[in-house]
Amino acid sequence: MATASRPLTRFMDRYQAFVYPAPAVIALFLIVIIPIGYNLYLTFTKWTIGLGQPRFIGFGNFIELLSDERVINGMRVMVYFSGLSLFLELVLGLLIALYFNREFKGSEIVQAIYIFPFAATPVAVALIWRIMLNPEIGVMNYLLRSVGLPGSLWVSGEHTVIPALVMVDVWKWTPMITLIVLAGLKSLPHDPYEAARMDGASAFQIFWYITLPLIWPVLIAALMLRSLDNLKEFDMIYTITQGGPGISSETLYLYSYNVGFSFFKAGYGSALMVVVFLIVLVFNVVMNRLRLSAQDL
């Protein structure tokens, strides 16, 4: 070791707890905290990007959004889309994980296949879904009709667009939930199961009274992990419908993007983004409470 570097090494050794995280913390401060601060500042202003300067208007933006019909629509779409997709992903993920929770030939293949939808570029697969869901030439309607069912309008219909988008989201994310729950199931203790079997418990009783309570914290954790992205779903909805037809699939998040980058209203857009953040925050705080209380049992 060169003598010149010794004082530096000694300094780094002594203040390791400070020196090691410092660059990352500074970087995060610059790229994350400062923009969030700027965003918060903008919420109190009225400003069209490219025209003049931000003008301070206090809580004007927040008062405006209370009576904005597209905000109410965005909330409704968000609750509908996220509620349905998160519920289905969790239930299906759990059921499929229970199905695969055994030793079998090909379990490695299943695991490999189930990683692909999660890793695949959202925009790319969303475009393929857009082709598949085309009401006239799409393969989905062809498959429906070939088993005697009527075709659907899918993402082209005002009333079918959300269920169709939920289907795409469920397709992309259920496999990931499955893999997480499966890993959780594999790590469960054996003793309660043996005791239950000795007592002659039925398969359903074992699931309801043993597996479900034990796997509950994993389910909530998976839900939290998934909700972080699901409540802010952008790529898939933007690529497939851009919020349409009309505004029938425009989530609050998508609307905030439109206000910011189609209408260039920086202040009002920022206020909407803060609302989205608060929804994500409240949801996760509540879920975390639920998870901690479940773990204490």
Binding site: V19, V32, Y38, P117, A120, I128
Partner: protein
């Protein structure tokens, strides 16, 4: 005896049929993507859809020659490579320190970074980069991608560092290593699985990133998700081109994910079960 093994075999067959059925939906979309890329434009708008046809590689050629796709692939590779490299250099020591000294408070910044909608960063960054004339540069894209990849690397690595035996490091210190040497020579090789996983996760998420690139990239730095999205805004939608381009985009990340599939799940689970 015979009938007992008979029912067992039947059960096993039924199980495997079910397992196969559960793998059809994930695979089907990818098969359809590849088929779309291998069909001509006319075949792609035929109804009923054609399942059997003579494949053509024409679309893949067109994607490179007409749409200049190689350039976009390189852009994505550069940005994802830079974002991943910087995230590792900054994130590894930070995660190590957080795990070792229980600096949970730093975790709060990471949590905030994860929860904040990307659009909230995009608007300030767009205004700043416009002012600094940095729109359509690798700098702008890399900085914004770091918002995603740096917290991800730290978050994943904390659990890998926590799972590491401390004795080995102590032994190294007794042998006269400095803390820096022991970190570089002893600790990092011990968590190489974790490093590979977080590097690949970081690469995948940067490669897949759409929103930041949609606003902050331009003709010079357009990344592949934006490039393929633009296939539909040229008026006439080129389905065959989209199929070929989508295949090219998804292929590298799928291969990466395949190689670290076990540790990705491990990383996600450990992350999900923390605190």
């Amino acid at each position: 005896m015979m009938s007992k093994t008979g029912t067992k075999t039947l059960k096993s067959i039924l199980f495997h049929v079910g397992a196969f059925a559960l793998c059809v939906p994930p695979v089907f979309v990818f098969v359809w993507m590849i088929l779309t890329g291998l069909k001509t434009g006319v075949q792609n708008i035929a109804y009923p859809p054609e399942f059997i046809f003579i494949p053509t590689l024409e679309n893949f050629r067109a994607v490179f020659q007409q749409y200049n796709f190689f350039r976009y692939l390189m852009n994505s590779l550069i940005v994802a490579g830079l974002a991943t490299g910087i995230s590792l250099v900054l994130g590894l020591p930070a995660a190590y320190s957080i795990a070792k000294y229980r600096q949970g408070k730093i975790g709060i910044i990471i949590l905030v970074a994860r929860m904040t909608p990307f659009v909230s960063y995009l608007l300030p960054w767009y205004i700043i980069f416009r002012y600094l004339k940095l729109i359509d540069t690798y700098t702008a894209l890399t900085i914004t991608h770091l918002i995603i990849t740096l917290p991800m690397v730290i978050w994943l690595m904390i659990s890998f560092f926590e799972g590491m035996p401390e004795e080995l490091e102590d032994a190294a210190m007794i042998d006269g290593c400095s803390r820096l040497q022991s970190f570089l020579i002893i600790v990092l090789p011990l968590v190489r699985n974790g490093i590979a996983t977080s590097a690949i996760m970081s690469f995948i998420f940067s490669w897949n990133q759409f929103l930041f690139s949609l606003i902050l990239s331009g003709p010079k730095t357009k990344t592949v998700p934006v490039a393929v999205y633009n296939f539909i805004s040229y008026g006439k939608i080129d389905w065959a081109g989209i199929g070929a381009a989508a295949t090219l985009i998804v292929l590298p990340v799928s291969v990466f994910a395949f190689f670290v599939r076990k540790t990705i799940v491990q990383g996600l689970t450990m992350g999900a079960l923390k605190k």
